[in-house]
Amino acid sequence: MLSPDAAIETVDLAKRYGRITALVGLSMRVERGSIFGFLGPNGAGKTTAVKLLLGLARPTAGDALVLGAPVSDDRAHREARRRVGYLPELFRYQGWLSAREVLAAHCALMGIDRAARGHEIDQALATVGLARRADDRVQTFSKGMQQRLGLGVALLGRPELVVLDEPTSALDPVGRHDVREIVRGLRARGTTVFLNSHLLSEVEQVCDRVAVVDQGRVIAIGALRELLRADTVRIRATGLTDGARASLAREGFSLDGDGERFVARDVDEERVPALVEALARAGARVHAVEPQHETLEERFLALLAPAAEGGAQRATAEKKEQH
């Protein structure tokens, strides 16, 4: 049963393009106010899922609610889109308009009150760093500036949900930093952000929850902390003899390394105090203990590894998504 409380909820959402299956059966829930990372390799069905959520394509099976409105109900979904901002992966805006005019057209399409439009536009331009180019034609913009403009378009009207499809693909490191700050700003004011990206470091830095999709289905979903195992501990200690390491091994702590820097593996966060006690008992002088989280990249690659054999199938789906 779909719940209207979530910002997005999908149940068995599927999409076929002729003989090609782009999405097998997507089931996920994005809580309001969260920053949700939607990850997956190229051709996993990410952009297809986004298009289904925004009513740009119709699902073959399953259903989805966006801000409580079913995608199958045209009228309700259209009304809900008033509260949704979207930056497409393929971002293009009318080159013959100025940045300000593009934003004004979107304000009009959203039905933003005329009196409020000027302020909305100025704010969006300032947020994405385009205030000085506001009256220049979009056709004179670099790709990065056009992506910034797209982000500004997505921020108009203080949306409750912002869907960003690869929002930093054309941006330099400064731009990427700016996007992270904008996303954090959105979280601070309670906006839900659905971040579709394959830039894992970006996702890792801002997202609360993530879903990993591959070959059109979710293969992992959860809070980032839960998803990334914290089972490696870096230790700087002196006075650790071979005998001391043997006695630690008997207690279940096997240490790699030599000198004064060691790594203990398969130690989850709850067992870190026990490790420190065992080190002290073994006569070691402990200078530093740092529990290490698995990186998102490591986890991502581990999750995708079993599916690697299905590479050929993935290539077909990728072909469709590019189409």
Binding site: D74, R78, F91, Q94, L97
Partner: protein, 281 residues
């Protein structure tokens, strides 16, 4: 809907389409105006006024044909990529994710393009006729009616090209629309030949093409509105063979044909809406 229509008008102005069309039309009007001014001096002695007007009336029909051709081509060129271009480039992604229905988007495009076509048809027709009147003191019998037929002919092609644009790329849709336009024109001539030889089958071919794409029937309406009574009487006297002449119409299009043309535009628009509503972006 009006926002989308406004964007169409602004695009035409910003992309210098309007400027290009204004300059070329002005040039065409000046050249044809000069041509009209030479009519009285075609022979060694200045021609009598009546003869000048007769020649002018036929030249006006030929100039109207040139304008109808330009209108048809312009309508196809602007409408054929109107939707497919935005879908292919990605502009449609951010627009259609807004709280706007596909219907509003498509009707907005149609309204904007129809307004552009209206302004161009009205301005070019009025300018040409004013110049002709001032140069040779000739005014066709029903200029407003001729304008209405020319505009509707353009509107038919515009609607067709826009409908094709919901599924085909601008280039393909444009070619398809123009080929159909050419076939309809030929169909009209074929039908006329059928009438001339009193051959029912060939006449039916002409009638069917007129119904499938009513551009030629509307063109004949414009021709009829531009023909002075003297010409009508004279050519009618030549017998049914005149029906094969694409620059002559012995009678105005029947009222049911006018209703059919209006229904045709409405039906193709509905088809375009259905097609676009089911289009995956």
């Amino acid at each position: 809907m009006l926002v989308v229509a406004g964007l169409v008008l602004r695009e035409a102005a910003r992309r210098r389409l309007v400027l290009a069309v204004v300059i070329l039309t002005a040039l065409a009007v000046v050249l044809t105006g000069w041509g009209f001014s030479r009519i009285p001096y075609l022979s060694a002695r200045p021609l009598p006024v009546e003869q000048v007007r007769l020649i002018a009336s036929q030249l006006v029909i030929l100039v109207a044909f040139m304008f109808s051709f330009v209108l048809a081509l312009s309508a196809v060129f602007v409408a054929a990529p109107a939707i497919s271009g935005e879908v292919e480039s990605g502009i449609a992604l951010s627009l259609l994710a807004r709280p706007i229905s596909r219907t509003s988007y498509l009707i907005g495009k149609w309204l904007g393009l129809a307004a552009l076509l209206f302004v161009y048809t009205a301005a070019s027709t009025a300018l040409e006729l004013v110049v002709v009147r001032s140069v040779v003191d000739y005014e066709p019998p029903r200029p407003l009616e001729a304008f209405a037929f020319l505009y509707t002919e353009g509107l038919v092609l515009l609607t067709l090209a826009l409908a094709l644009s919901t599924r085909m790329s601008g280039m393909v849709g444009g070619v398809v629309a123009l080929v159909l336009f050419g076939m309809a024109w030929m169909g009209g001539i074929v039908g006329g030949i059928g009438q001339a030889f009193d051959n029912a089958t060939v006449t039916h071919v002409g009638t069917v093409t007129k119904l499938v794409l009513p551009t030629d029937g509307l063109w004949r309406g414009a021709v009829h509105a531009l023909e002075p009574a003297a010409v009508l009487t004279g050519v009618r006297g030549a017998g049914p063979a005149a029906a094969a002449n694409p620059f002559f119409a012995s009678a105005p299009p029947p009222f049911p044909f006018l209703v059919w043309s209006a229904l045709w535009i409405a039906a193709v628009l509905v088809l375009a809406l259905w097609s676009f509503r089911h289009r995956e972006i």
